[in-house]
Amino acid sequence: MIALLVLIPLASALAVLLMPQERQEEIRKITFFSCLATFFISVFVFLSYSAASGGVQFEISRPWVESLGIRYHAGVDGISAVMILLHGLVSFSGAMVSRSIKERVKEYSIFFLILVASIFGVFTSLDMFFLYFFYEMAVIPMYPLIGVWGSKNKEYATMKLTLFITGGAVLSLVGILTLYQAAGLQSFDLIALQEHFAASPLPAATQQWLAALLIFGFGVIASLWPTHSWSPIGYAAAPSAVSMLHAGVLKKLGPYLMIRLALTLVPEGTKFWMPIVAGLSVVNILYAGYCAMVQKDLKFIIGFSSVSHMGYVLLGLACLNQTGVSGAVLLMFSHGVMAASAFALIGFIYDQTHTRMVDELGGGLGNRIPFVAVCFVMTAMASSGLPGFSNFIAEIMIFFGAWQKYPWPTLAAVFGILVTAVYLLRLVKNVFYGKEKVSWPALKDAQGLAQKTPFVLLLAALLVFGFFPNLLVRNIDAGVKHLIAKNPSIFEVTP
């Protein structure tokens, strides 16, 4: 079942490759239906994952390169079930938003589908080799997607983004290979490795430098300060759907892989670095929040905002207690959906006005495009952690989790919600409220199912899980409990 999540987009990419590029409509349809199919599968997987039994479900294991012990070993636990749902949701909305791409539709679709497949690959793999393989595979299509279909300063942006993320990946690859060697199992299998390291842990010093490689290597893609600077400019240059996937999902691979690899394989080393991660995460929250306050480009504001919110995710992760880590995963989901919605909406406006500068847009757009304005206000409210949206529950969980462990950083993080409110409300006011100072006669509101569905879908997800957070949290909690059961020593047992 879950192999289909990877195979369907890959097969569709292959099909598109074989089609003549004039048949744009068919190519679009293939992309759309392929993402629709994976969306349904992701919903199915999420719904049928049983939190009560917990552990890894939907397991598949097939030998691949026997001599090196590489197997295609896939499965879903409580955490990845939620991340798969996130990716299904965002990639489907992204495919719908991609209709606005008019040039080289064929090539775009191929790269887009490869991107979608490889992210599903990361979330389902239980083999370190495949995990890394899919992770790198996700980075590659990003380069042409931004470089060719992007806007404004795109060559610089795509170069920077790719180099940064690859740089981080190389650091973590060193860690992964060392772990493979150190275990001496001739296997990349995560579960086997985990059991091995639980029985005979590596010495503390080795764990520390391995954890450093993994945490700060994957920290790059999680935009951990100060390796975040690829993120705002990368999103600004990327086409909407790519910004959506990148800010929404790809960025979450960082914390996800920290949980999967660092936390499970080198727990003691991870514990050593977590206070430093907590400190840096506060810098993320406040520094990026203040940077967002003075940006003039809409995508830069949301870009810095996402750097700021990743700070909350990392703070939650750094708590190493059940509440904090669960909150971090919930925020990965909630922020992913919210960021996708924000980038989709900005892209919708940019496609028609060809500017994203706040002062060039001139304000008062709410009158002209009420539907988009309402969606944007809701997105901004979700982002600033308003009750009713799942972001709020996630932030509350992180605050409660972090409060036990890092009281001072928590105070700073709570202050961060005020900073968020300031730059977002200012954005809303300057773009959508007030008098129309520049007239955009051609600007049209979202019309019809094709244009409205992505926004409605994303916001509805935030609202549903905001009102019934336990739908998500029970899965996440099952996953986190599993983690705790495997590494009781590093988790705080007392509340």
Binding site: K160, P226, S229, Y287, Y290, C291, M293, V294, Q295, N321, Q322, T323, S326, G364, G366, N367, M381, L386, P387, G388, F392, I393, I396, M397, F399, F400, G401, W403, Q404, T410, L411, V414, F415, I417, L418, A421, V422, L425, R426, K429, F432, Y433, G434, K435, E436, F468, P469, N470, V473, D477, P495
Partner: protein, 613 residues
């Protein structure tokens, strides 16, 4: 019975969802859905009250768990006791009146359906605070009333002032909420130390029943929770958003920014009074802030020309009274004043709305002589004015004198501040009333009395504003945490005299135009300037935002561009490029050079080896 409580809470939310989802285009239906839902809530509240009255008002609670984590249980529920029953009646009752009034007032507005959807969302959020069973739920709805207030202040979002005012209100109250949330975090760890981690009001009040030590942390918690009150109930120094919030439609000002939402802070004080009673230090800070707010707001009201802003400052001042009462040791006195104030202030705002509706101006200096033109508005406004001024036997008289008597026995300096405020209150309200209704007419177009849908709520509210003192609310709400208040004739007589003198003075000055103030104008003009400038508080915040916050943000951005991007990132790239450039020189392509380099290398290594040996 609790099912009724849940229904009361969720009816307005359903109305909001139905309007937003289906009837945005059908304005009449939207309005009727909103009004119908809240009226039903009101009727259910009355039924609930009647049924529970027969049982002697037991405390009922039902909760559902929305997040059953091991170390964090987030619950959501309905708590029905005397306090929440009264507040339910006030919110749904006054709310329904104002909803109906809005039907007339907002006629022909472009965002008619949107208005009623937001109004219903507000009613839901406010009721959520009222029936809340725990701090977490209170915080949820605390934020939700913030956002519905933001939406309603900015209802006319095309107006820059309205958009700015909404933003200001949201952010200013959020400053308080940051403190509130930190207070909740402290409270949860304190409860964990005391044996059981909980945020539930009833559980906490039992847990904190016999406190041993923890004084410092309790004071900190109280003051942090009070930060939330500062924001929402607009107390000094977070009061600046409320006058600006008058940019919203007048019924919104009446319901949200006078009668209910701004009173939520006082309600919270009463709800968790078991906590505040544990920290005398926090209580005295609270009393001081309340008294100070009451006084400075009353002085600012003296010079305002805008009818709604006068009422807004008056609201600030009266909220200050309530907070002071809670700080002085009686939450029931605070709640009593909250209820009577809700009646007469809603009445005054709706009356002002009726005047604005007729004249299309908010400047009292452009009004005058409306008494004959708008008799219902004028008479009801008079009742509201006298009730606010505390004239016997109207509702404000009873509740205000309870607070003053309390202050007289507990804290003499605060009593004098309160008495001074009472004098100022009567005077600025006299100025407002006489200028608008009795002075020479200054309007050009003939005004007319408002339609029936607007005057009926006025009459109903006037009835309650007049008789609110006779329902025994003070004793009904009295809890065992409160100080007993003994009736003191001299205090009552004194404050009544003060009010009457102030009203007489204002009558002479503003209705009869006798220039009593002439000799004071010159020496006091700097004071008047200070008052018109609102003590420069807004300017101070502007400076803070514009220079401190913005410069700090600019500094971060500069650091990002120069150090992070140019220095670290592009620097690394340049270093790589430079190194490549240098290393390229080694690739000369000349065999002789390679041979030389090779032999030189061998020689060096050999030498090195020999020397080391």
């Amino acid at each position: 019975m609790l099912a009724l409580g849940w229904l009361i809470l969720f009816l307005p939310l359903m109305a909001c969802l139905v309007i937003a989802g289906t009837t945005l285009k059908h304005e009449k239906i939207s309005a009727w859905i909103a009004c119908g839902a809240l009226s039903l809530s009101f009727i259910f509240s009355i039924i609930l009250f009647a049924v529970l009255a027969a049982q002697g008002f037991p405390t009922l609670q039902s909760t559902v768990t929305i997040l059953p984590l091991e170390h964090l249980r987030l619950e959501f529920g309905v708590l029905i006791d005397r306090l929440s029953l009264i507040m339910l009646l006030v919110v749904t009752g006054i709310g329904s009146g104002i909803f109906f009034y809005s039907m007339g007032y907002m006629k022909e507005d472009k965002g008619y359906s949107r208005y009623f959807a937001s109004l219903s969302l507000f009613a839901f959020s406010m009721l959520g605070i009222v029936v809340s069973t725990n701090f977490f739920q209170t915080f949820i709805f605390w934020e939700l009333v913030g956002v519905s207030s933001y939406l309603l202040i900015g209802h006319w979002y095309q107006k820059d002032e309205a958009a700015d005012a909404g933003k200001k209100a949201f952010i200013t109250t959020r400053v308080g909420d940051v403190g509130f949330l930190i207070g909740i975090l402290f409270l949860s760890s304190l409860s964990a130390t005391l044996g059981k981690q909980t945020l539930d009001f009833q559980a906490l009040s039992e847990l904190l029943g016999h406190p041993a030590g923890h004084e410092f942390i309790l004071t900190a918690i109280c003051l942090l929770v009070f930060c939330g009150v500062l924001g929402k109930s607009a107390q000094f120094p977070l009061h600046v958003w409320l006058p600006d919030a008058m940019e919203g439609p007048t019924p919104v000002s009446a319901l949200i920014h006078a009668a209910t939402m701004v009173a939520a802070g006082v309600y919270l004080l009463a709800r968790v009074y078991f906590l505040f009673i544990l920290s005398p230090t926090a209580l005295s800070v609270i009393a001081g802030i309340g008294a100070f707010t009451a006084l400075i707001a009353a002085t600012m009201a003296l010079v305002q020309p805008d009818i709604k802003k006068i009422l807004a400052y008056s609201t600030l001042s009266q909220l200050g009274y309530m907070v002071m009462a809670a700080g002085l040791g009686s939450s029931s006195a605070a709640m009593y004043h909250l209820v009577t104030h809700a009646f007469f202030k809603a009445l005054l705002f709706l009356g002002a709305g009726s005047v604005i509706h007729a004249l299309h101006t908010q400047n009292i200096l452009e009004m005058g002589g409306l008494f004959r033109k708008m008799p219902v508005t004028a008479w009801t406004f008079l009742i509201g004015f006298l009730a606010l001024a505390g004239v016997y036997p109207l509702s404000g008289f009873w509740s205000k004198d309870e607070i003053l008597t309390l202050a007289f026995t507990v804290n003499r300096p605060l009593f004098w501040i309160g008495a001074g405020t009472a004098f100022l209150t009567a005077f600025y309200m006299g100025r407002l009333f006489f200028t608008v209704f009795l002075s020479e007419p200054k309007w050009k177009k003939e005004p007319h009395e408002s339609p029936r849908v607007m005057t009926t709520p006025l009459l109903l509210l006037a009835f309650f504003a007049a008789t609110g003192g006779f329902f025994g609310l003070g004793t009904f709400l009295h809890s065992h945490y409160d100080q007993a208040i003994a009736w003191n004739f001299s205090v009552v007589a004194g404050s009544l005299t003060l009010s009457l003198v102030a009203i007489l003075l204002s009558y002479l000055i503003y209705a009869l135009d006798i220039p009593l103030l002439k000799p004071f104008e010159k020496p006091f003009s700097p004071v008047a300037g200070l008052l018109i400038k609102k003590y420069y508080m807004d300017d101070l915040y502007d400076v803070l935002v514009k220079y401190v916050q913005q410069n700090f943000a600019g500094l971060c951005d500069l650091f990002e561009r120069v150090v992070v991007v140019k220095g670290m990132v592009n620097g690394t790239a340049q270093l790589t490029g430079w190194a490549g450039d240098r290393l390229r020189c080694l690739q000369t392509g000349k065999v002789q050079f390679y041979a030389f380099a090779f032999s030189a290398g061998v020689t060096l290594i050999t030498l090195f080896w020999i020397v080391l040996r």
